[in-house]
Symmetry: C2
């Protein structure tokens, strides 16, 4: 019985094991997990079941080799996204208008009606897409969801990306727009959010804002943020080939990280904010899914924020792989996700 | 690229897929996951690495067949726990005194000093051990940790268990002690907590308290609560043979559920509180780990509480299997876990 249930591990045995581990490390501690068939969960909505049941993309492990190949891939993906946007804007009653803010391209996303508590608030959106995808209007998808479901005015930054503009262009653009926003909106009335690369960029924007002595915004929302560009974090292994969105970190994902970093150490906090000093960060809501390849990233960042005394909350979605909470506009989980984040912003932003 | 990254799923395609799923369900949506070797994470403390690196218990899949076999197993496990308690009480400066409360056996656990905000507060502890293990003083282990790390007076209920006393004996005992406590302590100054079966019992105690029109306590803490005794929840599949504490739900775990239920429908909310009405529940903090077989249980309960408007927060620990946050008293994660729960109680309990 020892060891299989809580309360059964006696401290003395634990101490002995810890000391042994220090003296001569546990051989490897690696775990052999047999192959298995994971059924489609019946604990999610029908729409989410369909999302979770999608096959792997056969190209998840391939990576472009040249700038031209990258651009072709980016263009192809963007066309697919763009095709769906008109219907989405219509369904959510949202309008999108391109603009330039302090020299940076951006979009202003406006819902049909803005509830009165949100009249003097604005959300800054940093789109996802592994720091390479979703240029131009293709980057507005999540901003449309938040504007529509949450009733916020959203400014989505069309930040520069590789292969033409690697790090720190994206971060420069995000901070530039934030700094400009501060001229017309009090910091506590601003929220910043994004998913995946956009969640990570939300956090690195906080690090840069601290460096530049800018005030913190009222709150941030980082959805399954890729806060560590190195292959670190337990779920990169436990959820490899379980996450049908990303597959593994080894192929395309790693290629995008190296392309963006452009030779810089991947542990630089401005690339991988898990290695940064998060003291003084604003209230943060983090999101992941039980099948998410980056579950450990969200979890580690949550603990790090809490350890630094930041008011940080975590939500994890049943059965979902990477960022599937924004996959299907009709899924109740998608509305619930946005309701939760909107409540968090409402709780913490000034009026 | 379609489908592998957030923002690439166009709504029209999603709608088509959803409709298809309704018309003719996705064949099965099951995922074939190849065998793999999961390395020991380097994102946890050395002590936690040792805990995570422990081998599976070879008996995780065996189940006793007769009352005598159950009792032998319970006795053996209890001896192992008891052996470690004196050292633990000493290390944490905690005293344990047996008592009887309204006819129910219990223990009063008192730390050396109680911080002044906690003077008029008391925590009610419901121990873990799959509703069968940890009788008598063996059930006080987690209560000692909370009293010591958190600085609370704790009353740990030595509730009756199968094979002699199946459901609803444990729940009756928990509610009896809570009702008795209410005679001397205002409800808002009481917190209730437990891990695993104790986390689930914490939640079913709330359901029964509602049925009996007792006031809700000030807050509850349910650590990786086994809120669903049926084999439901995605992590029962994704983390099978990943979780080195529990292995799978099929063997010992399922046997204990059936023994406790004693023929009752496993979906009865008083057995599986995920199926209950949680409106009006007090603020709750839920805990799990990324390798936890019951991660989905914690996640589903968290979402259910949030959807019911309950102030519920979730923490998930990197790399940990079931309830490993209380495995090693010397691990910094163990202190951090208790600090977090103590802060939550401090925030929500009356003084």
């Amino acid at each position: 019985m020892e060891g299989i249930l809580p309360g059964v591990n006696v401290p003395s045995a634990v101490h002995a094991q810890s000391q042994q581990a220090t003296a001569e490390p546990v051989p490897s501690g690696a775990r052999e997990v047999p192959s298995r068939t994971i059924p489609l969960p019946d604990t999610v909505s029908p729409q989410m079941r369909a999302v979770i049941g999608r096959p792997f993309n056969p190209n998840y492990n391939l990576a472009p080799q040249t700038p031209a190949e990258w651009k072709a891939r980016v263009d192809k993906a963007a066309l697919d996204v763009l095709a769906g946007l008109p219907q989405m804007r219509e369904a959510l009653g949202v309008t999108v208008r391109p603009t330039i803010i302090a020299g940076v391209k951006a979009f202003i996303i406006t819902p049909r009606t803005i509830p009165s508590p949100n009249r003097n608030r604005v959300l800054l959106h940093l789109h996802g897409g592994v720091r390479v995808l979703n240029p131009g209007e293709a980057g507005t998808r999540e901003a449309i969801l938040m504007a529509g479901f949450g009733g916020f005015k959203v400014i989505s930054v069309d930040y520069r990306m590789p292969p033409d503009f690697p790090f720190p262009a994206a971060l420069d653009d995000a901070v530039t727009v934030y700094r400009e926003l501060l001229k017309t909106t009090t910091a506590e009335n601003i929220g910043i959010f994004g998913t995946s690369a956009g969640g990570s960029l939300t956090l690195t924007t906080m690090l840069r804002a601290k460096m530049e002595h800018l005030p913190m915004p009222g709150a941030i929302a980082a959805g399954t943020p890729t806060v560590d560009l190195t292959k670190t974090g337990d779920s990169l292994f436990t959820n490899a080939m379980v996450d049908n969105v990303l597959g593994t970190q080894d192929g395309f994902i790693r290629a995008t990280a190296l392309l963006y970093a452009n030779g810089r150490d991947l542990k630089d906090p401005l690339l991988s904010p898990i290695y940064g000093d998060v003291h003084g960060f604003p209230p943060a809501i983090l999101t992941s899914g039980t099948r998410d390849l980056y579950l450990s990233n969200a979890v580690r960042m949550h603990r790090k924020l809490r350890a630094a005394g930041v008011e940080a909350v975590l939500q994890v979605w049943e059965g979902q792989s990477h960022a599937q909470y924004i996959s299907d506009i009709t899924a109740p989980e998608t509305k619930e996700y946005h309701d939760e984040v909107a409540r968090f912003f409402d709780l913490h932003l000034g009026r």
